[in-house]
């Protein structure tokens, strides 16, 4: 494998396979240091009612770091609300990229696949680059790809749970058949989870809480950057097959008779 580690997403080439969420940091300053340490090129933002009292804007930080802004539709429960939010985000941020989230339940925050697919179809038809946050269901992923989504973003585990990859087999099935990038979104808890996602063949991971809510977000951001790189290189290197029994790494040849 060459030194070219870039991947294509939405018709552009990206060097970093770590996409940064921006929610959950203690301060904008903590966020800025962590995003810099993560080496991410893309960061997500949400759209909320203006806060007249707000000091600095998150956008100042993202601009300073030169990050590509990926708006999300967090908090939407219907295709209708998500599509409206996407159009507002396009207006606010001047981008037709959207991380599409349509949630089915406020306890698990799991995606509603029916509403999600509906919203994806509508937004693709409207010219959006749609990156859908979805369950780890290979069939739903396939339907989203068929609908014209630019990637599929299956969860590892529920948002903010930090449970890591609950169903690696499903992720492998998704990777196997997807022609668009597969980005693990949600549920990453620590660096090894991110490395595993890349080892399974996923193209990138989106990490928010695991960095933002770590005791030291800047250090965890660095760990995630290294893990994503390690996982990607390991995948390219080709791991050894799993075996039921041991296989000696030292030759049997030339063993002395010592009895």
């Amino acid at each position: 494998m060459s030194g070219d580690r870039a991947f294509e997403l939405g018709g552009r080439s990206w060097e970093s396979r770590l996409i940064a969420g921006t929610g959950g940091f203690r301060s904008l300053d903590a966020m800025e240091r962590a995003l810099a340490a993560a080496g991410a090129e893309i960061a997500t933002v949400a759209l909320r009612r203006i806060d007249p009292a707000a000091g600095g804007s998150i956008m100042d930080v993202l601009e300073r770091l030169g990050l590509f802004v990926l708006p999300n539709t967090a908090g939407c429960y219907t295709a209708r609300d998500a599509a409206k939010t996407a159009r507002l985000a396009r207006e606010a941020f001047g981008t037709d990229w959207i991380k599409l989230e349509v949630i089915g339940d406020d306890r698990t925050l799991l995606p509603d696949p029916v509403e999600l697919l509906r919203a994806a179809e509508e937004l693709v038809a409207d010219g959006f680059v749609v990156l859908p946050y979805t369950s780890d269901d290979p069939i739903v992923a396939r339907r989203l790809e068929e609908a014209g989504c630019a990637a599929v973003m299956p969860l590892a585990a529920p948002i903010g749970s930090g449970l890591g990859i609950r169903n690696p087999h499903n992720l492998e099935l998704i990777v196997e058949s997807a022609a668009v990038p597969v980005i693990v979104d949600a549920g990453i808890g620590t660096a090894s989870d991110a490395a595993l996602a890349l080892e399974l063949g996923c193209d990138a991971v989106l990490v928010a809480s695991a960095i933002a809510r770590a005791a030291d977000p800047e250090a965890m951001a660095r760990a995630m950057r290294l893990a994503v790189e390690a996982g990607y290189v390991a995948r390219q290197a080709g791991r050894i097959p799993r075996r039921h029994y041991a296989q000696a790494s030292t030759t049997d040849e030339g063993i002395p008779e010592l009895a």
């Binding site: 969420g21 921006t22 959950g24 949400a46």
Partner: protein
């Protein structure tokens, strides 16, 4: 007239427009009127009417 701005009732003079409600100096803002996007280019000319719902939105940290 009364208009609902980000969920709060605001009294405005007749003929008020979207641009009167938005901190125009701020970038990264989107406005929705009765659930529909009002593009920045239309803020000046879009008149508000009694009882309408306006949402003025900006970027916030989020995953």
């Amino acid at each position: 007239m009364n208009v609902l701005v980000n969920g709060e009732r605001q009294e405005l003079p007749a003929g008020a427009r979207v641009a009167d409600l938005v901190p125009v100096e701020r970038r990264w803002i989107a406005v929705s009127l009765e659930g529909e996007v009002v593009p920045r280019s239309a803020w000046d000319e879009t008149e508000l009417a009694e009882g309408q719902r306006v949402e003025i939105l900006e970027a916030r940290a989020g995953g």
